[in-house]
């Protein structure tokens, strides 16, 4: 097991003893330094989980220059993915969760939290509802592999420079982000629908877009769960993970 849990948020005392604040990921520190050198103040925040991963948040204006810096200056030539996170808590609350799970959680004394209406940003924080999310990596040199997840807050106009001139592979990912979230990428060669019919209206991956199938018929619904003969008690236990 190469994986090491050395994050500062570790609560397990055993793991924390050996690792808290002692482990410094020099390689990843160097990458953050590299981005700061190239982009200056445009790097808003960064977070390193030593031995695991690296996040860097840049301003939306510097979105393309971040890609250029990553590709040309730092050597992350490999484009992994590009997407968007909608941080709005679901306006439908928990109403679309499966009834079985809610019931199970209630039995276990774990009342599902009612999500607050405030935006709760994740790693590296954020200010706006929509956040760009992309990952690039340096590949091809054995032993020197590293990757970075780049983030950027999107302004209200939901417009940002396209990455296609830097990473040609961003083409389809940006089309997907455009159709699923309504983010416009300036400089993209053709923002067409990727998956949906060309006359589709709305942006399905936004949180306020209802998952209609769930709204019409709760799934799986407690009535759908067939009890095993003579296993009345266990059935409830099992259906949670073995559905």
């Amino acid at each position: 097991m190469a994986e090491e849990q050395t994050d500062t948020t570790v609560t397990d005392p055993d793991a924390a003893d050996e690792a808290v604040e002692t482990q410094v990921d020099e390689a990843r520190d160097g990458i953050v330094e590299g981005f700061r050198r190239e982009l200056g103040d445009a790097v808003v925040a960064s977070e390193i989980h030593p031995g695991q991963d690296l996040w860097i948040r840049v301003t939306a204006d510097a979105w393309r220059s971040a890609a250029e810096a990553a590709r040309h200056a730092l050597g992350a030539r490999y484009f992994c993915f590009l997407s968007v996170i909608d941080w709005l808590p679901s306006p439908y609350g928990r109403s679309m969760d499966a009834a079985v799970d809610l019931e199970l959680a209630r039995q276990a004394g774990e009342e599902p939290s009612v999500p607050s209406s405030e935006l709760q940003h994740g790693v590296t924080g954020g200010d706006t509802r929509f956040q760009l999310l992309a990952r690039v990596a340096d590949v091809g040199r054995p032993g020197e592999f590293w990757g970075v997840t780049l983030k950027a807050d999107l302004g209200d106009d939901l417009t940002v420079d396209s990455w296609v001139p830097v990473y040609a592979g961003a083409d389809w990912h940006e089309r997907e982000a455009w159709e699923m979230f309504g983010v416009t990428f300036t400089g993209h060669p053709g923002l067409r629908h990727m998956y949906l019919p060309s006359d589709f209206e709305g942006h399905p991956m936004r949180k306020e877009f209802p998952l209609l199938a769930r709204m019409v018929k709760p799934w799986p619904g407690i009535v759908d769960v067939e009890q095993m003969p003579g296993a009345d008690d266990e059935a409830a236990d099992e259906s949670g993970d073995a559905s």
């Binding site: 097991m1 190469a2 994986e3 849990q5 994050d7 948020t9 570790v10 397990d12 991963d53 996040w55 030539r77 490999y78 484009f79 992994c80 993915f81 996170i85 909608d86 679901s90 679309m96 969760d97 499966a98 799970d101 199970l104 959680a105 276990a108 774990e110 599902p112 939290s113 999500p115 994740g122 790693v123 999310l133 990952r135 590949v139 091809g140 040199r141 054995p142 032993g143 592999f145 990757g147 997840t149 990473y167 040609a168 592979g169 083409d171 389809w172 990912h173 699923m180 629908h193 998956y195 949906l196 399905p204 991956m205 877009f209 998952l211 236990d237 949670g240 993970d241 073995a242 559905s243």
Partner: protein, 390 residues
């Protein structure tokens, strides 16, 4: 990488120059050919709209989405345990491999570690699903080229592998066997010995394919120098897995960023090929199947004893946080970006599937090729529709 680059460049330039000559000499009126969504070459429902000049492609535009199932959206209302059922169906030929990175990402957020035995069995099944998946590729490549016999051998020998997967997980295609913190069950008795016997059969199959298909002059004529992807283009488009390695990029997540799997414990090799053409992609995958049998043999010898499940709460609530875990799946890099806000369900799940990137190169790659080469190039890029339309 450097060894192949000059050769690739020359091949590429020569091919483009020849095409340009033909275009000037024999300019004809264009025609639009719609390939798919129902077409034998698209194994699934990928549609390609090709603008043709004679039999030469001027522009090709793949159109996906005929099978899009919205897993990223559905995952937001499903518990972590239920998501594995969904992701099983992304690359349906190597289902178990789809579960692993998601489970690993959830484990990372929960700070749970699977016990060593579970890790080894995961790695075993991971490689088994790689074999089950790639065997079919090796046979299917023949079908796309008109040789229908290899695919029957492929189906025959894949069945042995699927039988073994079924004996452990109960499912041939969709095992849904991985759990946060370990595995659902332990291995059945005698399974490891049988698996090693199956690996012998798989190696024999590889030899057969090498003789019957790869050794054929016609096969080489059809694939050598066709669909050449230079390494810098490959990484730009995010090609991963065998497609990248066939362009000479020495990169394998199993070796370079192995998370929570037992690859560092075994002795194996990353195969690359400098040419970047359809043949190279076939060759690399063939070697990968052989390498996978070697990995499985070694793993089967050293499975540690112990439990297969760590202590996890009965109701899985994942602490708030974000995690990205990707693994080297049969089709390439498959990763999940899991955003949790401490609930029963993921807040956002970004699925990075290999085929989506691998196929996004086709408009660039298909420009200037002939209609028959569309088929070989698509087959050699090897995509699963479920992996494009998540």
């Amino acid at each position: 990488m450097t060894a192949g680059t000059d050769r690739q460049k020359l091949q590429y330039i020569a091919a483009r120059a020849a095409d340009a000559r033909v275009n000037v000499e024999l300019e004809t009126e264009g025609m639009t050919l719609n390939i798919g969504p129902q077409h034998p070459a698209t194994h699934g429902t990928l549609r390609i709209v090709a603008r043709l000049d004679g039999e030469q492609v001027i522009a090709a535009e793949p159109i996906a989405g005929y099978m899009h199932r919205g897993y990223e959206k559905i995952a937001e209302v499903r518990t972590y345990a239920q998501v594995t059922t969904l992701v099983n169906r992304i690359d349906w030929l190597g289902s178990f491999a789809n579960e692993v990175p998601f489970i690993l990402a959830a484990e990372r957020l929960m700070e749970v570690e699977a016990p060593p035995r579970a890790t080894w069995i995961r790695t075993l099944l991971f490689e088994m699903s790689r074999i089950a998946n790639l065997i079919l590729f090796l046979g299917d490549m023949g079908v796309q080229l008109g040789a229908i016999t290899p695919v029957f051998f492929a189906f025959r020998d894949r069945e042995y592998v699927l039988d073994q997967i079924e004996r452990v997980t109960g499912g041939r295609f969709h095992p849904n066997f991985d759990r946060i913190g370990g595995l659902k069950d332990d291995l059945p008795k005698g399974w490891l010995e049988d698996t090693k016997r199956v690996m012998d059969k798989v190696r024999t199959f590889c030899d057969e394919i090498e003789d019957l298909l790869m050794g054929s002059e016609v096969f080489q004529e059809r694939t050598r120098g066709i669909g050449v992807i230079p390494p810098d283009v490959a990484v730009q488009y995010g090609l991963s897995g065998a497609n990248a390695r066939a362009s000479g990029i020495d990169w394998d997540l199993r070796r370079d960023a192995c998370v929570g799997l037992a690859y560092p414990e075994v002795d194996w090799k990353v195969w690359t090929h400098p040419d970047g053409d359809s043949f190279a992609r076939f060759w690399v995958r063939l070697q990968e199947v052989r390498e996978a049998t070697r990995i499985i043999d070694q793993l089967a010898d050293g499975v540690p004893s112990g439990p297969v499940m760590a202590k996890v709460p009965r109701i899985i609530k994942v602490p708030a946080g974000e995690a990205w875990v990707s693994t080297e799946n049969p089709l390439g890099e498959m990763g999940y970006y899991v955003v949790s806000q401490g609930d029963l369900t993921p807040f956002r799940l970004k699925i990075r599937s290999a085929s989506f990137n691998n196929v996004s190169i086709t408009p660039w790659l298909l420009r200037g090729v002939y209609v028959p080469d569309i088929v070989t190039i698509l087959a050699s890029l090897y995509f699963i529709l479920g992996d494009i339309d998540r």
